[in-house]
Symmetry: C2
Subunit: 151 residues, 2 copies
Amino acid sequence: MADILHRVGIKASTKAVYQALATPEGVAGWWTRDSRGDSEVGGTLVFRFHADGVDIGGFEMKILELDPSTRVRWQVLDGPEEWIGTTIAFDLKQEDDYSIVLFKHEGWKEPVEFMHHCSTKWAIFLMSLKSLIETGKGAPDPRDVKIDNWN
Amino acid sequence: MADILHRVGIKASTKAVYQALATPEGVAGWWTRDSRGDSEVGGTLVFRFHADGVDIGGFEMKILELDPSTRVRWQVLDGPEEWIGTTIAFDLKQEDDYSIVLFKHEGWKEPVEFMHHCSTKWAIFLMSLKSLIETGKGAPDPRDVKIDNWN
């Protein structure tokens, strides 16, 4: 088993960061504009990605935890084979003037090349989250920063 | 044991990417301007970082592998305790119009919070490497993109 880990600090309250994580409308501002679904534990979320206007894939998640200003956690129900069954957690805490986001995408069976790609891409999207909250402008798909030949 | 993994694609030859990894002068263009040392296997490299003009720490590495256009690998001799003994590898290959960099910072004893930070920061520096080669302009320390309250 292998995990993707990240840490970003956002100059805002944990409440503000939580709001961008806890609802599909929030996530649409920094991960993918095509984010839909529920806002309560046990519900599902669907995130779709696009290139040149064409749907190129996405993820269905179950919402495992929603702990206001503290934690959001999802489990992947459908999507690329390597993602299915993995969990994605965002843990929040206040430190100095920052809300610290500790990110963990946990349970990859193998450290495949796609995991390398997703690790870098998560960093890019967490910086998009930071930018959304600090400046009002994120870079969600399809305006996301491209990192390699896979996107 | 835990590893940091990343993947970036750079629109350039693997030879051009290798040159930015294989010498301290190359690394100075994307990781830290204060990069010094050797350019052969068995030699050492010293990378120092700064904030507000003050030296805030750094790393000493042993060069384990230098395989032109293919691989660069270092071992950490000195620096933050969590880094000592870990290894850092850059594997290169051509794919489509890209040189693909597969990055691995291997051998962390525990997935501590500092590892989360370093994972995100490596993504930022690999994007700096990509930018250096594609546009001629990297963002090495002290002009690096800040991600949190630790830097």
